[in-house]
């Protein structure tokens, strides 16, 4: 099977997307007012630590001033990575085709 791995990858992603859709429908129905669905695991852990009475002794030097700007930097991070991956795979492929 030449494309077995590709098919497997797409199937895996589809299965997880399916699970997400079903679970999201359930979550939205049972959500308490003011509760945020799909929050980050990192912040959940921080909440748990803060609940024990611990005070962070250092605050971030710089924080993105808003959700949109945070998204900008996350996208930038992914864009830079994708650019490098695409560049070198293209380079390898074209070089192999020429030889």
């Amino acid at each position: 099977m030449k494309y077995a791995l590709e098919i497997l990858t797409v199937t895996t992603i589809l299965v997880f997307a399916g699970i997400f859709l079903v679970q999201n429908a359930h979550l939205q129905d049972t959500l308490q007012p003011g509760e945020e669905a799909w929050s980050g695991a990192d912040s959940r852990a921080a909440e748990q630590i803060a609940a024990s009475g611990y005070e962070p002794w250092f605050t971030p030097v710089w924080e993105p001033p808003g959700g949109e700007i945070e998204t900008l930097f996350f996208c930038l991070q992914a864009a830079m990575g994708s650019l490098v991956i695409g560049y070198f795979f293209g380079y390898y492929r074209a070089k192999a085709a020429k030889e």
Partner: protein, 231 residues
């Protein structure tokens, strides 16, 4: 797996910096040697680093109703080993700590240890082990990458449990609580990451099998066998 800024007592911050430092220093030494001796492998190093950039920026929903992100360190761990991976991981963690307030400068040592040292170390040895017993290469890559990802989150839970033992039940009870937040959320993401890295590994194998041989990731005989199975 990012422990947020200031969320570890200072002595734990210092401890994890001290543990991570030797690995980073050795990684920089390996990097210098790679630049001198195997320039053809540098693009692959860039791709591995870029992979960590992309995957660790993707926050994905998981079965626990919260979001987390893959680490992407498996590829680099398999190709270049855990110490070089720690250097790449440090760059990503610095970017996120400075520009995104995700993770932090004080917790950098602890985050480097979990994401860029402990996880990749386990992933690397799983790959080597799988190769030694002759397991299918793609299955080995999948296992190495998925467990590399998952183990990172187990280590984070352990780091937090050590710093914040529960009043009743101590470190173990605290570890269970953090592992429920981190490790359980991570299981589906680790599976996706494993499959994607196995796919990328296939493309690298198709484009430049020669580099994989010089990096001792695969032997010439293994490359030949896999190429025949694709033909």
């Amino acid at each position: 797996m990012h422990i947020m800024e200031g969320f570890l007592p200072w002595y734990w911050c210092a401890f994890w910096f001290a543990v991570s430092l030797p690995c980073i220093v050795y990684g920089i030494y390996q990097l210098n040697r790679l630049v001198k001796e195997n320039r053809a492998a540098l693009p692959l190093l860039a791709v591995s680093g870029a992979f960590i950039f992309v995957l660790s920026s993707l926050k994905m929903p998981s079965v626990t109703g919260s979001c987390s992100h893959p680490t992407g360190t498996g590829l680099s761990a398999i190709l270049f080993g855990p110490c070089l991976t720690s250097v790449l991981g440090m760059i990503v963690l610095l970017y996120q700590a400075l520009l995104l307030a995700h993770g932090g400068l004080t917790t950098l040592g602890a985050n480097i240890f979990s994401m860029a040292i402990a996880g990749p170390f386990v992933g690397y040895w799983i790959y080597r082990g799988g190769k030694a017993v002759g397991l299918n290469t793609f299955v080995t890559v999948f296992l190495a990458a998925a467990i590399c990802d998952l183990f990172t989150y187990v280590v984070t839970s352990f780091q937090l449990a050590l710093a914040f033992p529960a009043q009743t039940g101590g470190i173990l009870a605290s570890f269970t609580a953090f592992a429920l937040i981190f490790a359980v959320t991570q299981v589906p993401l680790a599976i996706i990451e494993g499959v994607i890295i196995a796919l990328i590994f296939k493309y690298i194998l198709q484009c430049r099998p020669d580099i994989l041989v010089t990096l001792h990731v695969l032997s010439q005989a293994q490359v030949k066998k896999i190429q025949e199975s694709f033909a």
